[in-house]
């Protein structure tokens, strides 16, 4: 198994601007996180808002540089502040954002959304761009008739499919999914999760799946990392983390997740009647 993504001691600080009366400060968003993901596997990153999981996503997708630490993609060290970000590298890593309503340009037709990455990469003639976009539309469960439509004509689940299609246009090896299903309804969520699983099998994709929903993580992840205030407090295989959570925060998280099985409902009703 080859390791697609490896992070060693990633740190990201944000400088707060000082004003006339206030001194600037430093926010430590990510405080030394290390992990590695093998090809074709899914790493889930769990944590509440403000724990640094989206900051980490931006670093992994080469949007923001890390303050310190080393990032390896397919075994090659990458530092975007030193101009390592080539078009070839950009092709390797793609991202799907949380809100499918915000991540698509309302004035851009779906066809243009999907072909834009190919235009930027160059070397692909127009008819081939169109053909590849049509193929990708079918892959994600949409049709050729959607090519000339605008984003507002689609539902949330369909838009998320478009966002996934756009991310896959360049055949990346690593896909960072930043809360891809948390804005979707339960039944649509199931469809999108199925789609992601199918695509992973077909293209042998590696996923970094960011979520705060433990039931989704349990379903899709091979490995789980729990973040809390910028630190990775728990990191292990799915079985290990779910069977035997070590850190107090992970335990709190598990305890807070609503349980929808009849046994826990019965227990709750019994408690209520006793009170």
């Amino acid at each position: 198994m080859s390791v697609v993504l490896e992070a060693k001691n990633i740190v990201r600080d944000y400088q707060l601007p000082g004003g006339l009366f206030s001194k600037g400060g430093v926010v430590h968003a990510v405080k030394g996180v290390s992990f590695s993901v093998e090809k074709g596997k899914t790493l889930a990153i769990v944590g509440e808002s403000g724990c640094g999981k989206s900051t980490l996503a931006r670093i992994l997708t080469l949007i923001d540089p890390a303050t310190s630490g080393d990032l390896f993609i397919k075994g090659k060290k990458v530092d975007i502040t030193k101009g390592d970000l080539t078009k070839d590298l950009r092709r390797e890593v793609q991202i799907v954002f949380q809100n499918p309503y915000g991540s698509l340009n309302p004035r851009q037709k779906i066809g243009d959304v999907l072909t834009a990455p190919l235009v930027i990469q160059g070397n692909v003639p127009a008819d081939e761009r169109r053909e590849r976009a049509m193929m990708m539309l079918k892959k994600v469960g949409l049709g050729e008739e959607h090519y000339n439509r605008y984003p507002h004509m689609f539902s949330g689940g369909q838009r998320q499919r478009i966002a996934i299609a756009r991310a896959l246009m360049l055949n990346p090896s690593l896909l960072v999914l930043d809360e891809p299903v948390s804005a979707l309804d339960l039944s649509v969520q199931a469809q999108v999760l199925n789609l992601l699983a199918d695509l992973q099998d077909e293209f042998n994709l590696t996923y970094v799946f960011i979520s705060h929903d433990l039931s989704v993580v349990r379903y899709i992840a091979d490995e789980v990392m729990v973040m809390y205030f910028g630190e990775a407090v728990e990191y292990g295989t799915r079985e290990a983390v779910f069977a035997d959570p070590k850190h107090d925060y992970t335990k709190t998280l598990f305890a807070a997740t609503p349980k929808a099985d009849p046994a826990s409902i019965r227990a709750r009703l019994a408690r209520k009647n006793a009170a």
């Binding site: 949330g156 339960l186 199931a190 705060h212 039931s215 349990r218 609503p258 349980k259 929808a260 009849p262």
Partner: protein, 285 residues
Amino acid sequence: MALLEIENLVVEFQTTTGMFRAVDGVSLKVDQREVLAIVGESGSGKSVSMLAVMGLLPWTAKVTADKMTFNGRDLLTLSDAERRKIVGKDIAMIFQEPIASLNPCYTVGFQIEEVLRFHLGLGRKERRARAIELLTAVGIPNPAERLDSFPHQMSGGQCQRVMIAMAIACNPKLLIADEPTTALDVTIQKQILDLLVKLQAEHGMGMIMITHNMGVVAETADRVVVQYKGRKMEEADVLSLFENPRSNYTKALLAALPDNATGDRLPTIADYFKDGSEIAGAAVS
């Protein structure tokens, strides 16, 4: 006598292409001290039916029902002025986005005290004392100081607590919570749900919990109504709904929970209706 009783509620919206029916013949009842959960996906009409009860729908909406009574009073024939005396006092509502539902220009203390002045006519000192009492009840530390905070100075969970404080300010008989925890983290969600259930038991309120999250239903409800495309699919007490769902739609919803995944693929709603049977035809009354 039931606290809230709705029979055959229909809500239609005027659109450029004709009337759109958002709620199609929904009947439900809430008793005192009861927690009713209304579950459904977006577009199932669960929020719209409750907004109709509150009288908060825009003028393009046409509301008809065979019966809509609250505490023995007919809500359909109520004048606007009379309705305003009930809404916010005897029926209170909490909305999904806590930060968006507070006015950013006023302190939270002002907004809580406004409710007390309008509905109860309390004097300035009494209002202040009651507001502090309410913030203490919803678990906000340093309540006396926090009254002078603006919404942007508080976190999402704290804003939702302020919304709850405003809602229970006049000891309502019915509390409608419209997706109260959807915008919040799981750990905060747990705290808010526990708080709502505790307040509901303490004050003996009836509560309607609108949600799309089956976990929230399991953790709070006594009875559940499942809605789909404006129609009621199923009504059952919470235990039998999870143990023994009758309508195909409920079965599909439960199967789509990643918790219940048995194979590699999650079943979707479509898997349950492969034969093309009309989903509404599968409804159990």
